[in-house]
């Protein structure tokens, strides 16, 4: 047994808020051996980032260590002076931060910021340190490191920025690498490549790594040991395969079950964990999970369960783990069937149709030229034709910058498309919002990504909903009826009537998003455009909102245009899927067609990159090299040819590919014959 690189023993941490010191992390122990990648999973507020930084001996200005100790190769980090810690930071203990753009200084070049580490710790000269920085950039597989070193953070793509922070963290060969949600802001295709890179580099440097994430899919892909944190306490800790294959703690079980998977399908509802995680200073005295636990007994609310070793390396904090292991208590009921959902297949009918939609930014008017210089033209949406069928969901997927949000905004009218025709319920819909009829506004509603920004903080939930009713009702409602409708709407989104008098600040993220959904449904719309409605939410909360959207579709007979970068969430809700790349649709078909036989090489790569929450399926088959080109310089011919693993040859560079019918409404825009593409998918080993 090798000696652990880092070991936390009984670590407890507090934060100082107005009310005094509040406990954030309680009695956490974990250790990581060289080459080990330890996953730390938890939802927002679980204390995972606080704990991760504590493993580096770092405390936020308003935090303190109230118990326990952290040992780096036998030395107690919290007995060290600031000067001693500074000597370790960046050299022995390194952080790869979450939001790489914000974590880099905007005013200095990449090379300068990486070189700082070796200049500080190894006393290298300016020139030698720069040279070393360029070598590090090459090691994180950045093409043309010499010129990237001279660039500034904002000039790089998100994936490149993240590589830069990795290069910086590794440049002094640290013993421990703390990775704090390093891929959360990235597209799945980039994420898959970065995860591969982590594996290689950790192997190469023999470091130990702590990988912090809320994403159980990513954790399954990269970690060998996982600790599940809830409300500052360890709920379970186990080898990764065991944790996913045989979860014991009710929280772990619930969390794993609530993740939509590409194979979940549209017939079922996701099991959810009721309630929300307790706030800091509001944690229950017994088992912290008891208020949300389906198996909680009276004594769970009063006695704190100990963390017990149930198998080698597998610890669980639950009073009832014996019964759960023996199968005497079932935590989960079988996935419920979703309310019967009849997707109309009538081909001629559509709720919304968009034909030849275009939106270009950055034209050059005289004023713009005078004040800003001529801006480059960005073709964000370029000749897009989509159709949403009655009572069905069209899922729109693609990497960031593919134009999916612009398309949604053009349809809703928040942006005015430059060209193209729109039809809502077979009636022409003007591209300009101001020219749309009130009835059309009512029929077409939107739910946005971040519920924190979409609700007016100075209006109660009731006032927000009343205003929506007032604006959207076909005929004016008397006040008492309006109030009645507000309560009905709250019930529809499973909120109790007392929520009507609360302000957004008093709601959790998931509750806010439910209010946003209620607002969109205030006047029974025909189509709801949902742009990443669950991306800002925690896993357990995401499941609640996804279920709600699914139920409402069946109850209210609405249709959705559902946009997400999370292909699993899309698969859960969508009947039809359109895949977008650089402003164009490249593949379209039913969810089954697209997921089971993703035929366009881009779709294939996208689906192969989904981090599946199953360690047995780690590492997909296809990796896309390079970043998506910027929308300002779109490649000629097929737009995907610069990254395509199945590129045929010069024809892809010169000619725009034709649409090909693959049967049953499945269409692909590629030079390779559709039959050939489909055959590839049938013969390829299926990963799921």
């Amino acid at each position: 047994m090798p000696n652990p690189v880092i070991e936390a023993r009984g670590v407890s941490m507090d934060y100082r808020l107005e009310k005094g010191w509040l406990n954030a992390v309680r009695d956490v122990s974990l250790s990581i051996n060289p080459l080990g990648i330890h996953g730390l999973v938890g939802e927002s507020g679980s204390g995972k980032s606080t704990l991760a930084l504590a493993l580096m001996g770092y405390l936020a200005p308003n935090a303190r260590l109230s118990g326990g100790a952290v040992w780096l190769e036998g030395e107690d980090l919290f007995r060290k002076s600031q000067a001693e810690l500074r000597a370790l930071w960046g050299s022995q203990l390194s952080l790869v931060p979450q939001d790489s753009l914000a974590a880099l200084n905007p005013a200095y070049t990449i090379g300068d910021q990486i070189a700082e580490v070796t200049r500080q710790h190894f006393g290298l000269s300016r020139r030698a340190a720069w040279q070393q920085a360029v070598e590090m950039l090459a090691r994180v597989r950045i093409a043309d490191p010499t010129s990237v070193a001279r660039q500034y953070p904002h000039q790089l793509s998100g994936g490149m920025q993240q590589r830069v922070t990795i290069a910086m963290a590794l440049s002094a060969r640290p013993r421990l690498l703390v990775l704090d949600e390093p891929t959360t802001a990235l597209d799945v295709t980039t994420e898959a490549v970065i995860l591969d890179l982590f594996r290689e580099l950790i192997q190469e440097t023999q470091a130990a790594a702590l990988y912090v994430s809320h994403n159980l899919g990513v954790i399954a892909q990269i970690c060998d040991q996982v600790t599940v944190l809830y409300a500052g306490e360890v709920m379970a800790s186990a080898p990764v395969r065991e944790l996913y294959a045989r979860p014991v703690h009710p929280y772990t079980i619930g969390l794993l079950a609530s993740i939509p998977r590409p194979t979940t399908g549209v017939e079922t509802r996701l099991p959810t964990i009721p309630g929300v995680a307790p706030a800091l200073g509001d944690r229950p005295p017994g088992c912290v999970f008891a208020p949300r636990c389906p198996a909680a007994l009276p004594h769970c609310f009063t006695d704190k369960p100990p963390l017990e070793m149930i198998a080698p390396g597998h610890q669980v904090r639950c009073h009832r783990w014996h019964e759960i292991v023996n199968g005497d208590v079932a935590i989960l009921t079988q996935p419920e069937a979703a309310a019967p959902h009849v997707a109309h297949q009538l081909a001629a009918e559509s709720v919304l149709s968009a034909r030849g939609l275009r939106k270009t930014y950055g034209g050059a008017g005289w004023w713009r030229r005078l004040t800003r210089g001529s801006a480059r033209r960005v073709r964000a949406v370029d000749d897009v034709t989509v159709r949403v069928r009655p009572q069905s969901t069209l899922g729109l997927v693609g990497e960031s910058g593919s134009g999916k949000t612009t398309l949604a905004r053009c349809i809703v009218g928040l942006e005015t498309a430059d060209d193209g025709q729109l039809e809502l319920l077979a009636i022409p819909l003007d591209r300009r919002l101001a020219r749309r009829s009130r009835a059309q506004l009512r029929e077409l509603q939107m739910v946005f990504q971040n519920p924190n920004d979409t609700l007016n903080p100075y209006r109660t939930v009731g006032q927000t909903l009343e205003r929506a009713l007032e604006r959207l009702s076909p005929q004016p409602l008397p006040p008492d009826q309006r109030r009645q409708r507000v309560l009905e709407l709250l019930e529809v989104v499973r909120l109790t009537p007392d929520y009507a008098d609360r302000y957004p600040a008093e709601l959790s993220g998931g509750e806010k998003q439910r209010v946003a959904v209620a607002r969109a449904f205030a006047a029974d719309p025909a189509l709801v455009v949902a742009d990443e409605p669950t991306s800002a939410l925690d896993v357990s909360v995401q499941a609640v909102v996804l279920n709600l959207l699914k139920d409402l579709r069946a109850q209210k007979g609405a249709s959705y245009l559902f946009i997400s970068h999370d292909l699993s969430a899309v698969a859960y809700l969508a009947d039809w899927i359109a895949v977008m790349y650089l402003g164009q649709i490249v593949e379209e078909g039913t969810a089954e067609q697209v997921y089971q036989r993703p035929s366009h090489p881009y779709t294939e790569a996208l689906i192969s990159s989904i981090p599946v929450p199953d360690p047995a399926q780690a590492g997909g088959r296809i990796r896309l090299t390079g970043d998506a080109p910027r929308a300002a310089d779109i490649p000629t011919g097929c737009r995907f040819h610069t990254r395509c693993p199945r590129k045929l040859g010069p024809v892809c560079e010169t000619d725009a590919p034709p649409w090909q019918e693959a049967g049953g409404g499945h269409r692909i825009r590629c030079h390779i014959p559709a039959a050939e593409l489909l055959a590839l998918q049938v013969s390829a080993p299926k990963s799921d």
Binding site: R86, W89, P106, A107, V117, M168, L370
Partner: protein
Amino acid sequence: MVRYLARRALLLAVTLLIASVIIFALTRLLPGDVARLILGREASEMALANFRQEFGLDQPAPQQYVNWLVGFLAGDWGRSFTGTKAPVQPLVVGRLGNSMRLALMTLVISVPLSVGLGIIAALRENTWVDAAVSLLSLAVVGLPEFVTGLVLINGLALGVRALGLPATSTVPDGTLADWVRQLILPALTATLVLVGYISRLTRAGVLEELRKPYVRTAVLKGLPTRTVIFKHVLRNALLPTITVTALSFGWLIGGLVVIENVYNYPGMGALLVEAVKQRNLFVIQAIVMVTVFFFALANLAADLLYALLNPRIRLE
């Protein structure tokens, strides 16, 4: 970069043109007949007509404007209505030189002082140091310049005679000692006005940057606190301070009316007040145009410096 400069120069010209129209219109809207005001109630109609003709005031307003603008561009800024009816340009340019001396002295004192105070307050956030800096700077901002000016004169010039500071300032001659001696009191008075604004802004800027994730990155690289603050934080935190300093420069050039009067210093502000009292139209117009020009120029310089220090803007 060349194109950017050309574009900004063009915008500067447009700004000045618009300003010239406004200034001209305003001076012509001042109540009372200029000729009557200058020559007095006893003046004959003949004398008034002669006066108007001499200065072109008998022509229609648009014509007057064009004449003035063309002359102004050619370097003929008109003549003073009073005294020897001397040309306006040498007078205003001379006063401009005096104002710039005072402005320079003020900036040399106030910028390092207030930026330093702002940084200290931010690094000692919510301590007594922070509170003291905030209270003091706000207190002196609240006091009018004639109060602080008189306090300084009574305290330093008349109170401590050993310092040898003059109670009224004249234009310094070449030596550094003379510069300090002549300008220190008015410059300190102006500094007391500026220090509140600039130090508050610096403090806010530093605090905002300190909370950004890149600061934590720098700390966790193991850099000494000194490097984190001076290299990483200040480079970004001081960007807004540049803009405010530039605006202050414009104010120091044309707006030190009260301070110049308190110290009897021959700057542009004092001249402007005098000219307004006398309805000395060409002098007013020239001073305001020069002030607008320096305001705009300082702004342009600030934008360029800002862009130079901020790659996000420079490389767009």
